[in-house]
């Protein structure tokens, strides 16, 4: 049986690719695509009369296939269905890294899932607290309650917006400018940052519209998202390219961090690097740039 390493609550999650847990052809080699996380889906991708079969398939995939460094998250069925409790049992027993709560609308939803996860960890002898959680906000109520959702549990690592359901609730449709979801994305990002957790944008469903996809990913990065949900492996590379720092940013970050460490050792608080003022407030951002650069293969130093 594959024993996955203990999940990291905060790791790089630029790309999170959905795949149907009921389709062996998809899940058997999902790690080869190089996305940061895969999202094995027990919810909408699985027909109502195949929910049971998807769980057997998921259990054996989780315990047999070595996904390596690729994070394995499972999207469970909503709390208004008869499926979610067994979904949680199989996720925990199989050793999934995390669970995505579909259609999350309140802190109570998170706590309900957390209680079931804790019970399952006890039942299956899994270390308590190992299984991470994230929430999908799919309704206006979910967006309005974003902050209480983000802070509802120490297991929470992030929130994602789900565009299809949200647009349906808002009686709007996809707009290339992003105006249809601007307020919701903004509110969710502010809540996630205030709570200190990650934030992910929705899927882009038109696989033939490359320009539209690129524009949306650029806007995601500019708004401050950590990553994006994807539906097809061909979308991975572009997201990684756009989310990567530029070479200039990496050099500047490296100079800032190393100068800061020297200055701090010498008792200096504020100083300049390449003509720009630097103090302690800039350092977490610079370190984040270096970690991202390292993950993208652009930085090999030992500052992070």
């Amino acid at each position: 049986m594959i024993r996955r390493p203990v999940p990291e609550r905060f790791r790089l999650r630029r790309t999170m690719m959905f795949m149907n847990a009921q389709k062996p052809g998809l899940i058997k080699d999902a790690y080869i695509y190089g996305c940061d996380s895969i999202m094995l889906d027990l919810e909408d991708a699985v027909a109502e009369n195949q929910k049971d079969a998807a769980r057997f398939s998921l259990y054996h995939a989780l315990t047999t296939i070595d996904y390596g460094d690729t994070e394995v998250i499972v999207r469970i069925n909503g709390l208004d269905t008869p499926h979610w409790q067994e979904d949680i049992r199989v996720c925990v027993a199989g050793g999934a890294d995390g669970i995505r709560i579909a259609k999350c609308e309140s802190a109570q939803d998170v706590k309900t899932v957390e209680a079931a996860v804790t019970a399952a960890e006890k039942e299956f002898g899994v270390e308590e607290g190992r299984t991470l959680l994230m929430a999908a906000l799919e309704s206006p109520k979910g967006i309005l309650n974003a902050y209480e959702i983000c802070t509802a549990s120490d297991r929470m690592f992030g929130v994602a917006i789900s565009g299809g359901d949200f647009r349906k609730c808002m009686q709007t449709k996809f707009d290339p400018s992003g105006i249809d979801m601007l307020a919701a994305r903004g509110q969710m990002l502010i809540a996630a940052r205030a709570a200190g957790i990650q934030c992910f944008d929705t899927v882009f469903t038109d696989l033939d519209d490359n320009e539209g996809f690129e524009a949306e990913v650029r806007q995601n990065k500019a708004m401050g998202f950590d990553g994006k949900s994807l539906i097809n492996p061909k979308q991975i590379r572009l997201v990684h390219e756009i989310f990567a720092p530029t070479e200039k940013e990496v050099l500047q970050a490296e100079a800032m961090v190393s100068a800061f460490r020297e200055a701090a050792a010498a008792g200096i608080g504020v100083f300049t690097v390449n003509g720009k003022m630097v103090d302690v407030a800039f350092i977490p951002g610079a370190e984040r740039t270096l970690r991202l650069a390292k993950a993208c293969g652009m930085y090999e130093g030992d500052l992070v």
């Binding site: 389709k23 062996p24 049971d52 079969a53 057997f56 995939a61 315990t63 067994e86």
Partner: protein, 100 residues
């Protein structure tokens, strides 16, 4: 477990297998057809029999139409079909017990 009624799990898509179980009284009657029969026929048979053994199934007709499924998929389909035949596939599965 005992196969209580006819049940099916899986599909005929590539990398999958369709497993049908039917009640019987004459031991396990296994019928396998596979797109990779020559290379993996013995392995498929061993995996199916081992899975049935783990579940404690001693009687019944089991038909496997394999489309190049990995062992983990075969196990999942056999288990699901047997649990379905007992109307026990929806909840309370012994993950890590007889299902492993």
């Amino acid at each position: 477990m005992q196969i209580e009624k006819n049940a099916v799990a899986g599909t005929l898509e590539s990398s999958d297998a369709m497993v049908t179980v039917e009640p019987g009284t004459n031991g396990i009657e296994l019928d396998i057809s596979s797109s990779v029969m020559n290379q993996y026929g013995r392995q498929i048979k061993a995996t199916v029999l081992e899975t049935l053994g783990r579940l404690g199934v001693t009687d019944g007709r089991v038909t496997v139409v394999d489309k190049g499924a990995l062992d983990c998929t075969l196990k999942a389909r056999v288990e699901c079909a047997v649990f379905r035949s007992c109307d026990k596939s929806a909840a309370g599965i012994p993950w890590g017990g007889v299902v492993k």
